[in-house]
Amino acid sequence: MNPALITLIQALAPVAVDLAVKLIEVIKTEDMAKLTPEDWLALLKHSQKSSDERLAAIVARRTAG
């Protein structure tokens, strides 16, 4: 086998491991405490509004007005 190829494959292995570790780091939960109650409230209100709007659109389509 080409020595350059062997060198590249050897170089690839630790990089691949590093990538896997980074991916795991991204999807793990880190610091829930950084979220304030206000942050939660804002997110919840936004989603509630979205739910209400979607329901209203469906009801409007199915009723006379």
């Binding site: 080409n2 350059a4 190829l5 590249l8 494959i9 170089a11 690839l12 990089v15 691949a16 590093d18 990538l19 980074k22 991916l23 780091e25 991204v26 999807i27 793990k28 939960t29 880190e30 610091d31 829930m32 950084k34 979220l35 939660w40 997110l43 919840l44 936004h46 989603s47 509630q48 979205s50 739910s51 209400d52 979607r54 329901l55 209203a56 469906i58 009801v59 409007a60 199915r62 009723t63 006379a64 007005g65």
Partner: protein
């Protein structure tokens, strides 16, 4: 000549696997998957809304006006639960997306486990599935 081409491809592969680049690609794939999940959650929510609207019209009469139908639906515990589960999913989802964006840019803010996003969606699908058969079994 051939080994050089192979080496060039391998070098490209190494470049694509470099933490920053590979990381971003993986994020993109993950985002696409969760985007689809968000669409499915909207679909489950809307299927329940359709179901509740039909129930309201059966209860109030086919000529019932929209505000009356809305009020009837919003008073039902099963709709309140659907709204709660939907709200929870998107709150968790938004946080997850923000956390990932921050991670990509090297910032260290809150990062949520993707399992929380999946769990929130699964809870909604399971609940709506009790009323709307086509949603039953989503993400099981």
């Amino acid at each position: 000549m051939r080994p050089r081409i192979v080496s060039a491809f391998l070098a490209l592969a190494v470049l694509c696997l470099l933490p920053g680049c590979g990381h971003t690609k993986a994020q993109r794939v993950l985002h696409k998957s969760t985007d689809s999940l968000g669409l499915s959650v909207n679909a489950a929510h809307d299927a329940m809304a359709e179901f509740m609207t039909q129930r309201a019209l059966a209860e109030l009469g086919p000529t019932a006006a929209a505000p009356e139908v809305m009020a009837w639906i919003q008073a039902q515990p099963e709709w309140q639960k659907t709204r709660e589960l939907y709200t929870r999913f998107f709150a968790v989802y938004e946080l997850w997306v923000k956390g990932n964006a921050a991670a990509v840019s090297g910032d260290t803010v809150l990062q949520l486990d993707v399992a929380l996003v999946l769990g929130a969606a699964r809870d909604l699908f399971a609940f709506v599935g009790e009323y709307v058969p086509q949603v039953k079994g989503w993400l099981q």
